[in-house]
């Protein structure tokens, strides 16, 4: 399963935009576990995910070719 990861703000300094081949990652909770395992610094940071441009509010199924954005707290204005 191919997932495109895009990251923003402070997190873009930690995780670069990339396409990854994931197997066995079925949902966003699972994805978070994988991500925090790969980038332990993320565990102490606040962030939200957006799956295909929808902000993830609850655990959501991930389908192939998904784009997941990793977003730290917003600071516009």
């Amino acid at each position: 399963m191919e997932i495109e990861i895009i990251s923003f703000g402070k997190i873009s300094e930690l995780i670069s935009n990339q396409k990854i081949d994931f197997d066995g990652i079925a949902d966003t909770d699972n994805f978070k576990l994988h991500l925090e395992h790969q980038f332990p610094a993320l565990k102490s940071m606040k962030y939200k995910l957006a799956l295909n441009k929808n902000i993830v509010q609850e655990n959501t199924q991930i389908i192939n070719k998904a784009t997941i954005a990793i977003m730290p707290p917003f600071s516009g204005g």
Partner: protein, 147 residues
Amino acid sequence: MSEKKIKNIFVNGPITPAFIADSIAKHSSKTAIGGHSIFMGQVRKDEIDGKFVAAIEYTAYEELSLEKMHQIREAIFEKYPLNCMHIYHSLGTVKTGEICLFVFTSSAHRKPAISACSEVVDRLKAELPIWGKEIFEDETHQWKENI
């Protein structure tokens, strides 16, 4: 008066006083309007650990921001009797003292324009995926966080 088209709000670099003046001038033909409310966000020269902010560099998840802004715009038009509403936010580098946000609402009488303007600014800051990187005079940086 809802607008169906998704509008772009992003401007590269600072929002100039001339742009704002021009935007005000364009409303002289809309004679049903009796009150305008304007909010402008300006980059502040904050001092953090003895260092001064020189500029803020803005980035955004543009597509998601525009979609969110569209939803906010629809909700605000639903809630208040507005004649029009214009929103502009900078991307890229905006130096201290320059304008990075411009919100402009108009209505027949002042109160809806004032309330809508304030609500748009609050919601935009909380809900739009935009990030500001504060660049210090010595070129180090830190990421801003809205409280």
